[in-house]
Subunit: 278 residues, 2 copies
């Protein structure tokens, strides 16, 4: 999302150029090396619409046996970092009743993050993806744990409500064990609604193809998220086998790819005024 | 416990010499460098008794306001490695109901390890000290977790019972989430009972000093654990402030150290036949 981020003014051009990979190679140098550092400035300009075709990266289309997803917007995302301080002690001589085990508190928070979406909204997801334990050896009670919480929902007020429930659950878990929790809600992306007219053009394209489709939200970020800030935007999804993505199992059948490409073509042609859909 | 392990024949002398630290320095070379690689063979020989004075490393003596611990034996220890395989997926587009989150299963096991000692024995302890999550990034559902379980009790049958309960809890947690658990009970040390006559000599020494004392088990391993295999053995504990050990907060008051040293002296003198205690 680096190019769209710079074009939409969300990422500074110099910052983008100076990003380096693990081997220290910069974006600027690599663009020059492959001949992709062009002359045209990467900045907003008059655009009729932005359309993006993508695999769903989730299982909903495949499960429902539906050919296309017409994407109405991208969910809001909130990232939280939780630091837990217990007391590191020897696993042998420390009785159960004396323990302040940071990993026990973390386990209760993992369980709470599973429960929160259930009470807030059927579209919400909540994930503890990262969890690191110190000193991380079998015979020491963990004195320190850091963990991440990722919460997403199409509605900003649902994300707010989930964060309140998370704060309460963290405090309750820490109080039960006598540990100290520090909670940082350090990154937030509000929900990105797409342009109703462009969404509607995608829907008409699906109808013109005789494709089955459903309206849905994207749970992942895409270039369309930045582009929606500077021009009318929508997305089309095709099914992902078992919802898998960013792994070797990622797969979308060629007929699904073709259906998606045809929907993209028809919607783009209509938006460009080249073709009228019913 | 390297020296006692070699003397008791539990650790091979060559293996001990060839151990290296993080910088690659071997035990053999370092012993030679500091002049501690002596001529006498490190092997069992006729010994009247082995006595060891140590800080408790737990809070029991301090909490009870008691001056000395007369140690009757060392608990049995069991180490288990659990590997959990879920499905790594994107944290955004994967609905809650479709997830097979290895960290959810791990959290349920952490909670079970806290509960098991309660149902088995008041002297039992159970600890998840190590837990590692993959890929360990905020926006991926953990597909893989490894974790350790340390269980200890003075009675071997209690450790057995706890391991049965652990196996059941792991299977139940994995079934709930649809993950696959592999459980390896890879290391076991049976309980080490000390010699009743040597324990009694320590008790008489405490009485002779007018010290308050309690009989107890050691939850941690000590040289005495290996030495008990080759000669009559017991230990004396002095209080640890807040039970802390192997950290900067470790502290035992000088009067406690003195009381422990005097008890050790009197017990050793009696066992050597130099002094008769009442």
């Amino acid at each position: 999302m680096l190019g769209s981020g710079v074009m939409a003014g969300k990422i500074d051009l110099t910052d983008a150029y100076e990003l380096v990979d693990r081997d220290g190679r910069s974006v600027r140098d690599e663009l020059e090396r492959i001949g992709y550092r062009g002359e045209m400035r990467c900045e907003p300009r008059p655009m009729r619409a932005y359309l993006e075709l993508h695999i769903e990266q989730g299982p909903l289309l495949e499960e429902a046996g539906i050919e296309l997803g017409i994407v109405e917007g991208i969910v809001g995302i909130s990232w939280t970092r939780i630091t837990l301080e217990g007391i590191q002690d020897h696993a042998g001589p420390t009785p159960m009743r004396s323990r302040r085990d940071a990993l026990l508190t973390a386990a209760d928070i993992v369980r709470a993050v599973r429960e929160i979406p259930r009470t807030v909204s059927r579209n919400m997801v909540g994930t503890v993806g990262a969890l690191t334990t110190f000193p991380n050896i079998p015979n020491a009670i963990p004195g320190h744990v850091t963990m991440s919480v990722d919460l997403r929902d199409p509605r900003a007020e649902n994300v707010e409500r989930a964060l309140e429930l998370l704060d309460e659950a963290v405090q309750a878990a820490a109080d039960r064990e006598g540990t100290v929790a520090t909670v940082e809600h350090y990154w937030r992306v509000p929900p990105t609604p797409f342009d109703p007219a462009v969404v509607h053009a995608c829907e008409r394209a699906a109808n013109a193809l005789g494709a089955s489709y459903m309206r849905m939200h994207s749970g992942a970020g895409h270039d369309a998220q930045y582009m929606a800030a500077i021009c009318p935007t929508a997305m089309i999804f095709v099914p992902s086998t078992q919802g898998r993505s960013h792994c070797e199992e990622e797969f979308t059948a060629m007929e699904s790819v073709e259906m998606g490409a045809n929907a993209l073509l028809l919607a783009a042609a209509e938006l460009a005024g080249e073709h009228e859909l019913g």
